[in-house]
């Protein structure tokens, strides 16, 4: 019997190639005769483009072509589309300004591409780009979200004179106002959710080839969703969809920043046909900082109304969200559909109202970044809960318990319906693992060394696997939200799994193989997982929102079930039994005392000499599309313990405990690895990372690893990670998803711990990232 794989920490199939330097990332690919592209970028945050003179650049040795926005417009290359239409409070569509791949008439953020040079070598292209003469007329810039709607602020787009993309709201405002009017206590916080730069370590890259013989394009690019890329990019450059093959091979991290269908890959693909040669572009890190879609960037006022027992009566939230200069592929749905809907958290708060104002500024476009809306929502709820507990003198675990949702399914007042959960279990396990009972003794010990110690909680909820498509469509989604899978059984009984999910670190080649091996009862070595190529995989929506196992995994299970069902028909014929009498288990079909292995049935399907050809097609190859009926709802409790140096304000993470409920877990090793990574990005947001633009000029101050503080090994602790398993009720694997939880829960836990440490000094809040300077200033200001 084949040992079960699901639930085991199987070592990863993909590791050998990465460990031996034989992976294939886009920049590792070289095509014969390839040329190199360099983009000339705007040094201004906001300026009119008076003229662009490319004469000298075109005359340089080795230069094949130079293109500007005017060339693209003349060739009818379209703008980059936004994938989600938000309708505002007045029933009007959001403002959706055109987004040309190369600037036309105006530049709107530092780093916006103005021209592209294509040459025989990278150095030649770089040298020539320096000779392009652009006459800019600089204009005043607007940078901060809080400044965008101020009177006299520069207008980023003519169609949005007040820089407002939309004002959107969710919830029952009247009910919330009534609850606040009668509340025993109101806790209010105002804060920013700091803008972040995702920083996948592999910079974005694109390599395009054009075949004049058949008019076909091949685009290798760093994408989390190659089929979405094909659909949108083919439209942008005006190529029939079937003539564009998109391959996202090994991709070195995404975290949401590789969802966006960017200008560069569209320009590269279009240009490959124009110069009739392969064209390659790889971002330098400086370009990544300037032009990768950024994340977060909210300014929020949040109020929680409570009764005398600390029960939550209502939540009122007003958020301004920075979209950047243009709408990225999913910018518009992040501070709305993926944010306001999460504001119930783990609690029975009966009335919630959230108003979101999305604004344009002269900064890089904002898009999904690990968690995308849900970290911002968790930050609002969990900071408020800790603050309310402190203000009312209630234990912070106790106030959460008093408000936990305990009956499922649970319909929140902000549209979502949680199918299942067990918040008490994750809280209890976290309290135990973090030894919260021993905290006061540790705090006293720190005090003896002159340090301030604090403990912070964050009990988060997440919604993964955005679905179903019809409801999302009614809310403005311009895409389906299903996933596709194909199970191709080979004649020898091995299996190739084609999945529309895309892995860029998540280990799908192992996790999905575990699922398929168990369902078919075959060795995991006999299962190959293929992803990331529109020429091989039927279709797919790609990987985002922690959806791959819940949606992509379920699509695979559905296809496997079809394979098993067809195999049963073949086996019934071979075994001379009725189909109803044939059972499939442990890799074999059995009827009475006779049996056929899965491999024997597969061979019969492809060599159909003894086969019911009159009733059944040969072959064993099935596809499935799966559109979920609901989101999945992972949840958990994170507990952070910090120690702060009173003299310097330096904050050290003394311990970090995360107990998460992801439903059933296929590979605990991989899941824990996902949690570690999420936590480090969440802790990074809280303590280290912050994208800074100069407020007047829009120049990016944090434009390199010398200026943008990425978490390094010595900045982080080893984590204590625990798992509870409350299975999802609406998918066959019982899985929920795990990729973003760490980044969702961690920031509030860290900041609550810092505030807890500083509360005795009278500090109520510290802005993220809580650098030593900020913490030191908070302590000093509180002492005044």
């Amino acid at each position: 019997m084949n040992a079960p794989h699901v639930g085991q920490s199987i070592r990863r199939k993909e590791d050998y190639r990465f460990l031996t330097g034989t992976g294939t990332f886009v920049d590792d690919i070289a095509l014969p005769g390839q040329s190199y592209a360099v983009f000339l970028r705007s040094p201004h945050a906001h300026a009119n483009l008076r003229s662009i003179d490319v004469t000298k650049a075109r005359a340089c040795a080795g230069v094949t072509a130079v293109f500007t926005g005017e060339d693209l417009a003349a060739a009818k290359v379209g703008g980059l589309p936004c994938g989600w239409l938000i309708t505002d409070v007045n029933g009007q569509p959001m403002k959706e300004p055109p987004h040309p791949p190369l600037a036309q008439g105006k530049v709107r953020y530092v780093g916006e591409a103005v021209a592209v040079v294509i040459a025989d070598s990278l150095y030649q292209a770089k040298d020539a780009a320096e000779l392009i003469e652009v006459d800019y007329e600089p204009l005043p810039a607007v940078v901060h979200a809080a400044d965008a709607r101020k009177p006299g602020a520069a207008a980023v787009h003519d169609i949005a004179a007040d820089n407002t993309c939309y004002v959107w709201a969710l919830g029952d405002k009247a009910a919330v106002d009534r609850a606040f009017a009668g509340a025993h206590h109101v806790t209010t916080l105002e804060f920013a959710n700091n803008r972040l730069i995702p920083n996948a370590i592999e910079p974005r890259a694109a390599l395009a080839a054009y075949s004049r013989g058949d008019g076909a394009y091949t685009l290798y690019t760093t994408s989390q969703n190659p089929h979405v890329e094909r659909l949108l990019a083919s439209g942008v450059i005006g190529v029939p969809e079937q003539k564009l093959r998109v391959i996202a091979p090994d991709v070195g991290g995404g975290f949401g920043s590789k969802i966006f269908v960017y200008a560069e890959e569209c320009v590269i693909a279009w240009a490959a046909a124009r110069v009739n040669r392969p064209v390659k572009w790889t971002a330098e890190r400086s370009e990544s900082f300037l032009t990768d879609a950024h994340g977060r960037d909210h300014v929020t006022k949040a109020e929680l109304a409570l009764d005398p027992d600390g029960r939550f009566l209502a939540l009122r939230v007003a958020t301004t969200a920075n979209m950047g200069a243009y709408l990225s592929t999913f910018a518009s749905c992040i501070p709305t559909i993926l944010y306001a809907t999460l504001l119930a958290g783990q609690y029975t708060t009966p009335a919630i109202y959230c108003e979101v104002t999305a604004v344009f500024t002269n900064t890089a476009p904002v898009d999904a970044y690990r968690g995308a809306g849900r970290p911002e929502a968790t930050y609002v709820v969990e900071r408020l809960v800790d603050a309310a507990a402190r203000e009312m003198g209630i234990d912070r675990a106790e106030i959460r318990r008093r408000n936990f949702i305990r009956q499922f399914p649970y319909q929140t007042p902000v549209a979502l319906c949680y199918d299942t959960g067990n918040y008490e279990a994750t809280l209890a396990a976290a309290l135990d693992a973090a030894d919260v009972a021993g905290f006061e003794a540790r705090r006293a010990e720190s005090a003896r060394r002159g340090k301030l110690r604090g403990l912070g909680f964050s009990a988060y909820i997440e919604a993964c696997g955005l679905a179903p498509s019809n409801i999302a469509g009614s809310l403005g989604a311009r895409a389906g939200l299903y996933e596709a899978a194909q199970i191709r059984v080979n004649p020898t009984g091995s299996v190739t799994v084609f999945t529309g999910s895309h892995a860029h670190g998540q280990g799908h080649e192992t996790t999905f193989a575990q699922v398929v091996a168990d369902r078919l009862g075959i060795p995991i070595e006999n299962v190959e997982v293929v992803h990331g190529d529109t020429g091989r995989v039927l279709f797919g929506m790609g990987t985002y929102g922690s959806r791959s196992i819940a949606v992509g995994g379920t699509a695979i299970v559905k296809a496997v079930e079809k394979v098993i069902d067809k195999g049963r028909k073949i086996a019934a014929y071979l075994l001379e039994a009725s189909e109803a009498d044939v059972e499939f288990s442990n890799g074999a079909y059995k009827a009475r005392d006779r049996g056929k292995t899965f491999a024997e049935v597969a061979l019969a399907a492809y060599v159909p000499h003894h086969y019911p050809l009159d009733k059944l097609e040969p072959g064993l190859d099935e596809t499935a599309f799966y559109d979920p009926t609901n989101f999945t709802y992972p949840a958990g409790t994170h507990i952070c313990e910090v120690e702060i140096d009173r003299q310097t304000g330096e904050t050290r993470i003394a311990a970090f405990t995360a107990v998460d409920d992801f439903g059933r877990v296929v590979n605990p090793m991989i899941v824990e690895g996902q949690v570690h990574g999420g936590l480090s990005q969440g802790i990074g947001q809280a303590l280290l990372e912050g994208c800074v633009y100069e407020r007047e000029t829009g120049q990016l101050v944090t434009g390199s690893y010398m200026d943008y503080a990425m978490p390094r090994a010595a900045d982080l602790p080893s984590f204590k990670v625990g798992l509870e398993e409350t299975p999802c009720t609406h998918n066959p694997l019982g899985v929920k998803g795990c990729g973003e939880a760490g980044a969702i829960g961690a920031p509030a836990a860290v900041m609550n711990a810092i505030v807890d440490a500083l509360a005795p000094l009278g500090v109520r809040d510290v802005a993220m990232p809580a650098s030593a300077e900020r913490v030191w200033r908070a302590m000093r200001d509180a002492a005044k």
Partner: protein, 161 residues
């Protein structure tokens, strides 16, 4: 153009190169040893780490001509001839010290150097020594475990100068 002779993964290489060519470009573009990656342009991320005469260096910060007559070892050159992983590579696999795999070659090359310089590196030592390598996926938790385990195997097998 200038002439360059060096040893890469035990093989002698002669080439004519542009003097401004970086070692990492030479390895990737000329020799097609694409396991060494480029993750930044300020010598901060460490994805390009290789061994130059046995020491871990960032190959984006070395001109190819500076490696003249030197011995360079890349990630492609550390497994056994039959493909069996080096103990440090095996430890990264066993402890899930990699996710997307892009930064991994740099970490492995630096980790081997760390193990050769420290008999039994503590967690604190490893975290300090990894300061020049950025990973965005793992939170370093499993990398630290992998380096510790790989160093122990290397110590037992006598792989120290």
């Amino acid at each position: 153009m200038v002439s360059l002779t060096l040893s890469v993964n035990g093989r002698i290489v002669d080439a004519e190169i542009d003097p401004r060519m970086l070692l990492v470009e030479f390895l990737r573009e000329r020799l097609r040893l694409t396991g060494t990656h480029v993750g930044c342009d300020t010598a901060q991320c460490g994805a390009c780490t290789v061994h130059l005469n046995g020491r871990a260096v960032k190959s984006c910060n070395v001109l190819a001509v500076q490696a003249a007559r030197a011995e360079v070892t890349t990630i492609e050159g550390i497994a056994a001839a039959d493909g069996e992983l080096h103990p440090m590579q095996a430890a990264f696999r066993e402890h899930h010290g990699l996710q997307c795999g892009f930064c991994t070659p740099g970490f492995v090359m630096n980790a081997i150097d760390i193990a050769r310089r420290h008999v039994s590196p503590t967690e604190q030592t490893i975290r300090a020594e990894l300061d020049g390598n950025l990973c965005r996926c793992t939170g370093y938790h499993n990398i630290v475990k992998a380096v510790q385990a790989g160093a122990a195997v290397m110590r037992e097998s006598g792989d120290r100068p």
